[in-house]
Subunit: 239 residues, 2 copies
């Protein structure tokens, strides 16, 4: 945790915040070894970063006076990520990495090689998703929660919804052996939609559907990466 | 597992291989659903990739006839990676990623912010290290095991050994806030040494020591990444 990230629920107007959850409290006690009177860097979810003074630190609560929140978080990636729903354990780590790297819009998508059972995983509960995203934001010292939507039906999504969402975007399809080598250092002011398949990849029909919408195939060379590694590798190459 | 990677111990001269371990057998039975007579792609550790015919598949062994091994593995990265010893759980995942991405030379290094207890971890046993590296190779369809050496004393390493090993290399030090933005797309025929610090980073004295040897500071922007993410991100940007 490189940033203590406050939520709206922590706020006690006009200028106090109070946290009760064991995770952040443990961090204050054990890692930060904070004590009352100390100033800390804090962020407010979906707002800025600034300083707060720790007024009280008990076993079960910490009370802060927020001094200011006027530093903007690091710039987001200009990216809409379409990710075939990974297996639950991999989803958790991928969500953390996605938030850490600055993705602000994520669509989790069903494809032919996504096991249907993954859609029943408790990891898809909104509070679980948000918990992983928060870990990623705290790591990167970011405050802006990504939005996540679920598309459990491939065909209606790609036929009816995707054409509208990629208007004005450069649309890229990461798929081993298709198209060109992944581009490098894209401009941060041009929106990109990037589709990443499941373990085993997209099936040929899906690749055709994306290509028919204008997606350019890109690849990372002969090595096949795990999905969570591919996400980091693609984002690091592209931006 | 995208490649069944054989070891020297599996070989039964002149042209047979026999595997007994539950991990690879389970893969053949459950994922690959292989059956006798079938041809499979196999790799031989530190040699090439080719085809083998499955002669027998039992619960506790599989026997292959090796048909050929004449395809070279994917090209390695021209990189010597110096990595401050990560915490054991992160080491395991980092080793897998390092092998998957094609690093062939890894030095695990002590620095001021590496906890001394990490050097006692059972994860540092050679067979544990090799097991993680093999998982990474199987993922990437590579056969060449990276070499790993341990440098539990920073000062003698950096003063006496490192100057010789970086001769002819471009030497890079990944450290938040130091130097230039991480370069992109370096040539694959020029050797690079890349140093990556522990959680919390190198201390100023260590940064100075590296810089005195000619290491260029590079960074990935304002976001602080976990070590395992930083490794993938840096390698993906550099090559």
């Amino acid at each position: 945790m490189n940033l203590l990230l406050l939520t709206r629920d922590d706020l006690v107007p006009p200028d106090r915040a109070c946290i009760h959850d064991s995770r952040r409290l443990r961090h204050l006690h054990e890692i930060h070894r904070a004590s009352a009177g100390e100033e800390l860097t804090v962020g407010m979810t979906d707002k800025g970063i600034g300083r707060a003074r720790l007024l009280e630190l008990e076993k079960d609560c910490a009370v802060f006076e927020i001094l200011h929140l006027d530093t903007p978080p690091p710039p987001p990636l200009p990216l809409h990520l379409l990710l075939a729903l990974p297996r639950p354990r991999m989803l958790a780590r991928s969500l953390e990495n996605i938030a850490t790297m600055g993705v602000k819009r994520l669509t989790l998508l069903h494809t032919a090689r996504v096991e249907k059972s993954y859609w029943q995983s408790p990891e898809l509960q909104p509070e679980r998703i948000e918990a992983h995203l928060r870990l990623g934001l705290e790591q990167a010292r970011d405050t802006i929660l990504p939005t996540v939507d679920f598309q459990p039906r491939f065909k209606p999504f790609i036929e009816d919804r995707l054409p509208g969402t990629i208007a004005g975007h450069r649309a890229l399809l990461a798929h081993p052996g298709v198209g060109e080598s992944c581009p490098r250092g894209l401009p941060m002011d041009s929106p990109v939609t990037l589709a990443i398949g499941p373990e085993g990849g997209f099936i040929p029909y899906e690749v055709q559907q994306f290509q028919a919408l204008g997606f350019e195939g890109i690849h990372l060379g002969p090595r096949i990466l795990r999905v969570e590694t591919a996400v980091v590798s693609l984002l690091s190459r592209l931006f």
